[in-house]
């Protein structure tokens, strides 16, 4: 499972953690996040993330 970094604010999406603030369960791959998911820190979209 790959981590992804927000190129705007530096937040790391870790699939092992998921994103509880948005109801994303641990074990969710970045690719499986809904298109409406945004960076929990700065609010930008998935397209602003890059693989770590």
């Amino acid at each position: 499972m790959s981590k992804y970094r927000c190129t705007v604010c530096g937040y790391i999406y870790d699939p092992e953690q998921g994103d509880p603030s948005a109801g994303i369960k641990p074990g969710t791959e970045f690719e499986s996040l809904p298109d409406t998911w945004v960076c929990p820190e700065c609010g930008v979209g998935k397209d602003m993330f890059e693989k770590v």
């Binding site: 705007v8 960076c39 609010g43 930008v44």
Partner: protein, 399 residues
């Protein structure tokens, strides 16, 4: 004086003629700035943003010339930052029945600024708010343009886009419209604003402009939170934003240096002559005498950067180091760069500057050039050739 910028829409902001340092000391405002707030007279009286705290009384006076402040029904907070929300505590006191509207991040952020228990409705992109009659607001979230909470608000009557910090300028002026300002001054301030605040967010700027165009909302006026309001010339600022955001600079050079005893300064002068030999328009700045905000503004249009420093404690000098740190954070792309500097014994500054250029993602056009102590005529001739070579690379092969 009442400033009706569009039918039933009034500018109720403040002009700050005295401010010279903004965001702490990150932005030098050569001629002050404005904090733009707008009052819409619908069936529901609506205030778009407020002003910096010290100007709260001025905002209330301006509102009172149009309508008693206690009659305000809605306040839209497009952005948490204190230069736009600083008067909220006093406004909420003066307008006790007012309800706030903003993004979810705005709600969190306002609480962390003012700890007020205010009625707040969270809004998202596409949400609308009827002000009665022919007036409806549409909200457009704009995360990281330039904070997570940032938002634009659109008024259908008069087709006004309240863009908050986007499309602004730090410019104090007694007029309100962009077309009332000398165009060179206006665009220089807009470029400085873009370069120093929005440059690292360029991809988001391009995305937001595309989103606005796709939304089909006709825009006749762009009313930002700082500086002048765009009406007939709104296309010009949109075109410039798109161009700046694409990082497609011109074949111009900016040369910035810091010198201890004048050796690096002499090198800078010779490199400058070489750039001119190559036919490249060049601007040269001593970091300790020039205005940092102005230099960054010039760098927005330039495709070649040359930075130099004497070596001190095996490193570059501290004020150039601060500048390089600032430049790296602004993430300029598609540019070439080179380093230079004098040294006494081991050196170190040139390698350090080159390392920062690499980390910024800029390609090194020439290997850095050094000279021991005070450069002699041969060193200066090498510097001049270095400038010529850099200039040729900047212009590119003959077309």
């Amino acid at each position: 004086m009442r400033y009706e910028i569009s039918k039933d829409v009034f500018w109720v902001g403040a002009v700050d003629w005295s401010v010279r340092h903004f965001h702490g000391y990150t932005f030098n405002t050569g001629s002050g700035t404005t904090y733009n707030a707008y009052l819409i007279l619908g069936e529901k009286i609506t205030l778009i943003d407020t002003v910096f705290g010290p100007f709260a009384a001025e905002l209330l006076e301006k509102i009172a010339e149009i309508v008693p402040p206690e009659k305000i029904d809605y306040i839209v907070a497009n952005h948490v930052e204190t230069d736009h929300s600083g008067a909220l505590t006093e406004i909420m006191r003066a307008a006790p029945r007012a309800k706030l509207f903003g993004t979810a991040k705005c709600r969190e952020g306002l609480y962390r600024h003012y700890y007020g228990d205010w009625p707040f409705q969270t809004v998202k992109t596409g949400d609308t708010l009827s002000l009665g009659g022919d007036k409806t607001l549409t909200f457009i979230e704009a995360p990281m343009l330039h904070w997570p909470d940032s938002m634009f608000t659109y008024l259908d009557a008069g087709q006004v886009l309240f863009s908050n910090d986007a499309f602004g300028q730090h410019l104090a002026h007694s007029k309100r419209f962009a077309d009332e300002v000398e165009p060179g001054i206006l665009m220089r301030e807009a470029a400085k604003y873009y370069a120093n605040i929005l440059w690292p967010l360029s991809r988001l700027v391009l995305g937001k402009i595309a989103e606005l165009q796709k939304s089909g909302l006709p825009v006749s006026m762009i009313a930002p939170s700082h500086g002048m309001i765009w009406r007939g010339d709104r296309g010009v600022i949109l075109e410039n934003y798109a161009r700046w955001a694409q990082n497609r600079p011109e074949a111009k050079a900016v040369l910035v240096y810091e010198t201890m005893w004048g050796g690096t300064e002499k090198m800078a002068g010779a490199i400058y002559s070489g750039l001119l030999d190559a036919g490249v328009e060049t601007a040269m700045f001593d970091i300790n005498r020039a205005d940092r905000t102005e230099i960054i503004g010039r760098m927005l249009e330039a495709g070649g950067y040359l930075c130099g420093s004497s070596t001190h404690d095996n490193s570059m000098l501290p004020n150039l180091a601060g500048f390089m740190h600032l430049l790296k954070g602004l993430k300029p792309q598609n540019r070439i760069a080179a380093a230079f500097g004098s040294f006494g014994w081991a050196g170190g500054a040139v390698k350090e500057i080159e390392q920062i250029f690499r980390e910024t993602g800029l390609s090194l056009a020439c290997e850095g050039i050094s000279a021991q102590y005070s450069p002699d005529p041969r060193d200066l001739e090498k510097c001049r050739n270095f400038g010529r070579e850099f200039g040729r690379k900047l212009i590119g092969p003959p077309k």
